[in-house]
């Protein structure tokens, strides 16, 4: 969207009734365009005024405060998943390191370098999240003759980033790990599939929930060989592609150290 198109949508956006795709495009645009951002903030502020125009009917019930406090605390203080220890964790961290090193901190979010402070913060946070998630993914090591393919996933339009990895092994089920970020608002579930160069496609699985950053991690084993499958697609519930990317082979992964 250019500035003129965004300005056309802004009143509806401020009033909360812009169609979904338009709203997403506006949100993306205003993160990099100070003039449109100012206009959006001003119009949103004006629109929010109407929220106070509704005549009240007294205070909320007293018990609601307790419910709200407990609801927020339950999500804010939820225990993080315990990390497994030992050889598997070592391997997983190695996989994470391979992934991050191969795609690079900046290129994980390819095409978005121009984004301002907010995006940089998100990138840093997502990167940390990705490492943490890889530490908790239950991947089973396929054996010494393992090939790892990794790549970034980018959004054809709208927000969203991701990365994916396949572990192709002889004598064991192949595995795939997909990390997505910044997909809040996409219609769930998200379907992950991977295709080879001949057009054959393997459905890997579905992502049914996103976390606070619109992210999720999915790890799957598949009896279908993923050898030669490199084109990854993540689609929303309406079948629209929200992320896609191509994997590239990496150096074989050695056995993990304890």
């Amino acid at each position: 969207m250019n500035c003129a198109t965004v300005r056309d949508v802004l009143p509806e956006f401020a009033l909360g009734v812009a169609p979904g795709d338009d709203a997403t495009a506006v949100e993306l645009h205003v993160e990099t365009c100070a003039a449109c951002r100012k206009e959006a903030v001003d119009l949103q502020r004006a629109a929010a005024t109407f929220g106070y125009a509704l005549a009240g009917d007294g205070a909320p019930p007293a018990a609601l405060e307790h419910d709200v406090v407990e609801s927020v605390r339950s999500v804010a203080l939820a225990p993080r998943p315990a990390r497994s220890r030992g050889r598997r964790t070592g391997f997983l961290l190695l996989v994470a390191a391979v992934l991050v090193a191969s795609v690079g901190v900046g290129s994980v979010f390819a095409g978005r370098e121009e984004r301002l402070r907010l995006q940089q913060e998100r990138t840093a946070q997502a990167q940390g999240d990705a490492l943490q998630r890889f530490g908790t993914i239950p991947i089973n090591l396929g054996g010494p003759n393992t090939r790892v393919l990794v790549g970034t996933l980018v959004a054809p339009s709208g927000a969203g980033t991701g990365s994916a990895l396949t572990i192709v092994s002889k004598g064991a089920d192949d595995q795939m790990v997909v990390i997505v970020n910044d997909l809040s608002g996409r219609r769930l579930p998200l379907a992950v599939s991977i295709s080879d160069t001949k057009g054959h496609t393997v459905d890997i699985g579905k992502i049914h929930a996103l976390d606070t950053a619109g992210g999720a991690t999915m790890a799957r084993e598949t009896p279908t060989s993923l050898n030669g499958f490199v084109d990854v697609t993540v689609s929303d519930a309406r079948g629209r592609t929200v992320l896609r990317g191509t994997l590239e082979a990496q150096t074989a992964v050695a056995s993990p150290s304890p």
Partner: protein, 190 residues
Amino acid sequence: MQGRDDGPLLPREEAQLMEGLLAGDDAAIRALYARFARPVYTMGLRLLGSREAAEELTQDVFVTAWRKAARFDPHRGRLSTWLMTIAHNQAIDRLRRETGVTRPKLVLVDEVPESSQSVDEDLLLERDAALRAIASLSDAERRLVMRTYFRGMTAREISEDDGIPLGTVKTRLRSALIKVRLANQQKEMP
């Protein structure tokens, strides 16, 4: 700071409250609730039409605020605007999902003025701004805002319902919002 419950918050105070919310700090959550639960609940009650729905909306808004807390930037806009936008978007999403449900008649503050007793100063200021906003609009603009902001109709739906060009509807919406903005800017000027 978290105990202060009167007067508009400074950006620094808003940021502190949001940090507290993000950390699940009991006092910060209660401070936010004390300031914003009432207008959020009222929005749920008036737009969705039942106390149960209003309570659900209020809970959802505060949990969503926690989920999005890291994205809040007090230098880009006020916390009250941000929270009410979340509340409004969630209410409208629900309105648009639940088609065919009879909704209550909207009652605005200029029709049934609410007692100012037990309402904090910040809320009174916001309500004054709302009254100025409504007063700044023509009847036609007011109806337009009612159908979009309060009923969730898109510009295209209004265009089709009324048989007028989409561009005209959008222009009128922009004009209405600019009037509201000007009305409140003039009030804020010394």
